[in-house]
């Protein structure tokens, strides 16, 4: 359930990217997996605990997102949606299989001192690691909101999201705004990956499952609404936990995908979001 916080962070990242640029980031889950692998690298090579190292992961993924947007996505901003989908699919393929090439197919997990500890919180037995992950995720989301609503750059991003042409007219450097937004979205997911890396065994194919989870959340919460994404994250986490309780573990994925189908068919205008036509 505390996973919900991390899910929300993932979802917020995806929403940022979609909300601003109307680009669906198929590579979202794969970026998160890279966040996980980076955290793993730092933990094993440098001895940096992921609960500190997530900042590095966030920074690295920011750069990745920024570069991907600037170098690739920006060129096809006006192209039909199918092209954008194919592009991000290509990026996803490259990310996932480069990870496979570099790190091998075996599942990994990050060892963190904190991951072993547990805590009694009232009547409930709680994992310190999950608690920290949740906490950090919430803090990051709050920081993100502050950024978007209080800083100039954040406001520029929101303006560009609402009305690109208008933003251009008032002199916003829209290309830079887009790249930053994409970078921030990727950073969110990089951080989320690092935070979750001690809790979840991961391997390159995990990328797809994470992408699907992100899409589930974002579609429920309404594409383009950050608050919706956050709430959606919590909701989906609950649903999946329930599913895991009642079904064979190997079928847990089935729940995700079936949930996705149902959400797609009956997708609400979003809990808080706006439907894009």
């Amino acid at each position: 359930m505390l996973f919900g916080g991390v899910f929300s962070l993932m979802a917020v990242g995806l929403t940022l990217i979609f909300g601003v640029m109307r680009v669906v980031n198929f590579a979202h889950g794969d970026m998160m997996v890279w966040g996980m692998y980076l955290a793993w690298l730092m933990a094993t090579r440098v001895g940096l605990d992921p609960y500190v190292g997530f900042l590095v992961c966030a920074a690295a993924l920011f750069v990745l997102g920024f570069v991907v947007q600037r170098a690739l996505v920006q060129r096809i901003v006006d192209a039909p949606h199918e092209m954008q989908i194919l592009l991000m699919l290509g990026v996803a393929l490259v990310l996932e299989n480069t990870a496979l090439l570099l790190f091998g197919p075996e599942p990994q997990r990050v060892r963190s001192g904190l991951a072993q500890a547990t805590l009694w919180l009232g009547p409930v037995f709680v994992d310190v690691a999950r608690l920290i992950a949740f906490g950090v995720a919430v803090v990051l989301t709050l920081l993100l909101s502050l950024f978007l609503f209080r800083t100039d750059l954040g406001r520029a991003i929101r303006a560009a999201a609402d009305n690109t042409y208008g933003a251009l007219v008032i002199g916003t450097n829209v290309r830079r705004v887009y790249a930053v937004a994409f970078g921030v979205g990727a950073a969110c997911v990089g951080a989320a990956g690092a935070l979750v890396s001690p809790l979840l065994p991961f391997q390159p194919p995990t990328g797809l499952q994470l992408s699907v989870a992100s899409f589930n959340i974002v579609i429920i919460g309404g594409m383009g609404s950050l608050l919706g994404a956050f709430a959606g994250g919590l909701l989906v986490a609950v649903a999946e936990s329930l599913g895991a309780v009642f079904l064979r573990p190997s079928l847990k994925e089935l729940v995700s995908f079936s949930l996705l189908v149902v959400i797609l068919l009956f997708r609400p205008t979003g809990l808080f979001g706006r439907r894009t036509s």
């Binding site: 096809i76 199918e82 194919l86 290509g90 996803a92 068919l265």
Partner: protein, 316 residues
């Protein structure tokens, strides 16, 4: 200039049936795969290229066709020559379901892609968990070499079957392109609402495209099963296979008759090269990196695909 090109193409076409006598077994295999994936790419082309409904889950149809024909043959002794059509029909049924859900519920673009991926993954997971068809370990077919059971001792027979499939699919697409069906699909891809205003029942035509595409892919599944003799849910229903299918059409030229074929001629050798080069790793993901980069490159620099660009080059 264009006449020269046509002559060259006809010569090549005429040469294809003769090649196996000249080729060594490696070349025969390579070409068989080129034809087979060209066939699959062409099948996808109907709904993904012409109708513009991007499906990233076509492996689902292949998998259903493969498992159906395999199980029917092994358990019931029904020859795959019949089984392939049963498989195709079942695949078409799933295609109809996905199409119905997608089009009735107004799923376009990205949402539709997700729907197709979800269904493919659901199929994969169900297959992995169904022990009756081998579960995650896979389903195996014993090789008997009996042509009546769609098994051939000589690899060259597969070459001809694959070639026939590819030519058949291409013939169908070439014919349909000039009929109302094909013309409507091309227009639907451009602007659905404008089509509706002109009297086009867009739902019906998208459904037809989906059913045809999934049927053909399902038939291809039978070939796959009786060429490889082992089926694993992760390979047969997996995204990598869906990507293999899409990329041939996209790179070669989605929405054109020769696109998927050209794409296959470009990609299969490329994949083989990548596989060889990275063989030391002992795993086969490297060619997917190449695919990914190729997809990116095509989208950025050659969005209509190789064939239209080449055609224009030769028009001058």
């Amino acid at each position: 200039m264009i006449r020269l090109l046509i002559v060259a193409a006809v010569l090549l076409l005429a040469a294809l049936p003769l090649l196996p006598s000249v080729f060594g077994s490696y070349a025969v295999t390579l070409f068989t795969l080129i034809f087979f994936y060209g066939f699959l790419g062409q099948a996808w082309n109907v709904v993904g290229g012409y109708a513009g409904q991007l499906s990233a889950g076509h492996a689902a149809f292949l998998g259903i066709g493969a498992y159906t024909s395999a199980v029917l043959s092994v358990e019931k002794g029904i020859t795959p020559w019949v089984g392939m059509f049963v498989g195709g029909a079942l695949a078409a049924a799933l295609g109809a379901l996905i199409g119905f859900l997608g089009f009735r519920f107004g799923l376009r673009g990205f949402y539709f892609v997700l729907l197709t991926v979800a269904f493919a993954e659901i199929c994969r997971i169900i297959a992995s968990n169904t022990d009756a068809i081998g579960g995650a370990v896979g389903y195996y077919i014993t090789f008997t070499g009996d042509p009546r059971q769609f098994q051939f001792q000589d690899a060259r027979a597969y070459y001809y079957v694959a070639l026939a499939l590819m030519l058949a699919a291409t013939g169908i697409v070439a014919w349909l392109e000039q009929q109302r069906f094909g013309l409507y699909l091309s227009a639907i891809r451009e602007d659905e609402s404008a089509c509706e205003a002109l009297g086009v029942n867009t739902f019906r035509y998208k459904m037809l495209a989906m059913v045809l595409s999934s049927f053909l892919t399902g038939v291809g599944g039978a070939f796959y099963a009786f060429y490889l003799f082992s089926l694993q849910p992760s390979s047969v229903f997996g995204i990598p296979l869906s990507v293999e299918i899409i990329i041939r059409a996209v790179v070669g030229g989605a929405g054109t008759v020769f696109g998927p074929i050209l794409g296959s001629f470009i990609l299969s050798p490329l994949a083989e090269l990548a596989r060889h080069y990275f063989a030391q790793g002992g795993w086969h993901g490297a060619h997917l990196i190449v695919y990914g980069m190729l997809l990116i490159a095509v989208v950025l620099f050659l969005p209509e695909g190789a064939y239209p660009r080449l055609a224009r080059l030769f028009h001058r």
